[in-house]
C-alpha cells in the first residue's frame, strides 16, 4: 500500500490577470486576458513584442525594504506568493519545527533582470560597481533560498530546472520529501525573465509568437497556432503530509496530489514515439485511477503544430477521442515557464473546489486534434480529479493528477 497522498492546504497566486488567488480565479473563469505589449522594456525592435506581465505589483507594499535591494522582480513575486500561500494554510513561524518544513520550487532562468543590470555595470563601470547581491539574486535557486530564509523553513529544500515541466517536478520532489518524513513543503514555482537578456534567450527556442495581436498571438490547438507568448508569474502551494496536517489542525485542504510521472522524449528523428502518453498513463497508474475517473485535463498547450499534435494524440490515446474536457487557461496569460504548471495545478484545485472548468480563450480548435476543448465560457460541472500536463524544452514531459480529498478518510 502506498503512503497517503499529500494534501495542498494553501495557495498563493501571482498572475498577469490577477494578484492573489481570488482575483486570479475570478479573472480566469471570466476569460480575462492579460496579454499585452511588453512594458518592462522597449521591445519594439525585437521579433516578439507581446507578453503576459504582472503590472500592478508594487513590491514595497508587500515586502520589507531589507529585501528589495537584493531581489529580482520575479523573486519579489515569489516571496509574496509564498506569504499568501502560508497565510492561506494558516502556517506561521510557530507552526511545526523549522526542520520539518522545507521549500522546493521550480525555476527556468533565475533573476535575469537583476543579473542583466549588474552585468551592465560590470562592463560599463567596473567590477566594484556590481552588487554583492548579484552573487545569488540571478541564480536558479534564489526563490527557494529567499522563501526559506524569510519563513524559517529549514527542512529539505531545492530547486528543479526542467523548463515548463519544472512546476510539476517540484511538486513531485516535495511529495518525495513528505514521504521521507517532512511535514510540510512549500512548493510550486514563480518565474519570469521579461528583460532584454531573458528575451533574447527565449527567442532562441523559435517558439515565440511574433504576432502583435493579443487576441491571436497564442492559439494552441488552433490551425493558426504559431508559437506562444512569454509570461511571468506562477503559484506557490503549501503541501503537507496528510496525517501531519490533521495533527496540526490544518483546515480543509484543496485536494491531494494523487499521482505523478515524468518521461523524457527520444532523440528527434529517432522514429520512436514521443513519451507523453506514457507519462499520462503512469501518472494515472501512480494515482491508482482509471482514465474515466478524470474530469478535466489542463493541457501544456505549446501552440506549435507538431507539439500540439503530440499532446492531443497522447490525450486521445489515454482518455479516448474527445472523451474528456481539455482546457488551457494559460491562453489568457501566456506561458510562464517554471511558473505555468504550478499555476495550472492551482487552477485544477480551484476547479475541484468550485465545480467549474476555466475556459481556453481565443482558440478555434482545429479538427485534426482529437480532443474536446472548453472554449470561451467556463464549464460548470463537478470536478473530482484533474490531470495537469507540462512539457519542458528539450524533451521533458511531466504529469500530475490532483484529486478531491475523500472527506471520510480525512476525518
Amino acid at each position: 500500500m502506498t503512503a497517503a497522498a499529500p494534501v495542498v492546504t494553501g495557495i498563493g497566486v501571482v498572475a498577469p490577470n490577477g494578484l492573489g488567488t481570488s482575483e486570479y480565479w475570478a479573472a480566469t473563469c471570466a476569460g480575462t486576458s492579460a496579454i499585452r505589449e511588453v512594458r518592462r522594456f522597449d521591445a519594439a525592435q525585437y521579433p516578439s513584442r507581446l507578453a503576459g506581465e504582472v503590472t500592478d505589483f508594487e513590491a514595497a507594499d508587500h515586502l520589507p525594504s531589507r529585501l528589495l535591494p537584493q531581489t529580482d522582480h520575479m523573486t519579489r513575486l515569489a516571496l509574496t506568493a509564498a506569504d499568501w500561500a502560508l497565510a492561506d494554510a494558516e502556517v506561521d513561524r510557530e507552526t511545526l519545527s523549522p526542520f520539518d518544513k522545507g521549500v522546493i520550487t521550480a525555476s527556468s532562468a533565475g533573476g535575469f533582470e537583476f543579473g542583466q543590470r549588474e552585468l551592465e555595470k560590470l562592463w560599463s563601470q567596473g567590477s566594484e560597481y556590481v552588487s554583492a547581491y548579484q552573487s545569488f539574486a540571478w541564480f536558479y535557486a534564489v526563490n527557494t533560498g529567499q522563501i526559506s530564509i524569510r519563513n524559517e523553513l529549514k527542512g529539505p529544500s531545492g530547486v528543479l530546472v526542467t523548463d515548463q515541466a519544472g512546476g510539476l517536478d517540484a511538486i513531485a520532489q516535495a511529495r518525495r520529501q513528505l514521504r521521507r518524513g517532512s511535514s510540510l513543503i512549500v512548493s510550486g514555482g514563480v518565474d519570469g525573465s521579461i528583460c532584454p537578456w531573458g528575451w533574447v534567450a527565449q527567442l532562441t527556442s523559435r517558439r515565440l509568437s511574433t504576432s502583435d495581436d493579443p487576441a491571436t498571438a497564442y492559439l494552441p490547438f488552433d490551425a493558426r497556432a504559431a508559437g506562444h507568448v512569454p509570461a511571468e508569474g506562477g503559484a506557490i502551494l503549501i503541501m503537507e503530509d496528510a496525517a501531519a496536517a490533521r495533527e496540526r489542525g490544518a483546515g480543509e485542504s484543496y485536494g491531494e496530489i494523487a499521482g505523478y510521472a515524468a518521461t523524457f522524449d527520444p532523440k528527434p528523428g529517432s522514429g520512436r514515439e514521443p513519451t507523453l502518453r506514457r507519462a499520462i498513463e503512469q501518472a494515472l497508474s501512480d494515482a491508482e485511477m482509471d482514465a474515466d475517473e478524470v474530469d478535466v485535463v489542463f493541457a501544456d498547450a505549446a501552440a506549435t503544430p507538431d507539439l500540439d499534435q503530440t499532446e492531443a494524440d497522447a490525450i486521445a490515446a489515454v482518455f479516448g477521442e474527445r472523451a474528456v474536457p481539455v482546457t488551457a487557461p494559460k491562453t489568457m496569460v501566456g506561458r510562464m515557464y517554471a511558473g505555468a504548471a504550478a499555476l495550472d495545478v492551482a487552477a485544477a484545485l480551484l476547479a475541484i473546489r468550485d465545480g467549474v472548468i476555466p475556459p481556453t480563450t481565443n482558440v478555434r480548435p482545429a479538427r485534426r486534434y482529437p480532443i474536446e476543448m472548453v472554449i470561451g465560457e467556463p464549464c460548470r460541472t463537478p470536478v473530482r480529479a484533474a490531470v495537469v500536463i507540462a512539457r519542458g524544452h528539450g524533451g521533458f514531459n511531466s504529469v500530475v493528477v490532483v484529486r478531491a480529498v475523500n472527506r471520510k478518510e480525512e476525518r
Binding site: 520589507p64 531589507r66 566594484e128 554583492a132
Partner: protein, 82 residues
C-alpha cells in the same frame, strides 16, 4: 579624489540604500553602538554598503577590517581613519 569623512547620518542613508531596513529596527534611533547583526545587517549587506562608500566618497575599505567593524561606530572609525 581627496578623502572625505562621513557622518552617522550618511551611514544611515548608505545602509538603507544598499540593504534596506529590517522590520522593527529604528535606523534613525540610537544605533551607534548597536551590533550590525542586531540591526539586521549581515556581511553581504555590509559589503554592499562598503562598496557604495567607496563609489560615493572614494574611500577604499579593507575587507578584513570591514569584517571586524561590527557596529556603526567601528565602521565610521574605519572609514574616517583614512
Amino acid at each position: 579624489m581627496l578623502h572625505q569623512s562621513i557622518e552617522l547620518q550618511d551611514l544611515r542613508r548608505l545602509l538603507q540604500e544598499s540593504a534596506g531596513t529590517e522590520q522593527g529596527v529604528d535606523i534613525d534611533g540610537e544605533i551607534l553602538d548597536t551590533e550590525f547583526d542586531d540591526l539586521g545587517y549581515d556581511s553581504l549587506a555590509l559589503m554592499e554598503t562598503a562598496a557604495k562608500i567607496t563609489q560615493e566618497y572614494g574611500i577604499p575599505i579593507d575587507e578584513d577590517a570591514l569584517a571586524v567593524a561590527t557596529t556603526p561606530r567601528l565602521l565610521l572609525n574605519l572609514v574616517n581613519s583614512g
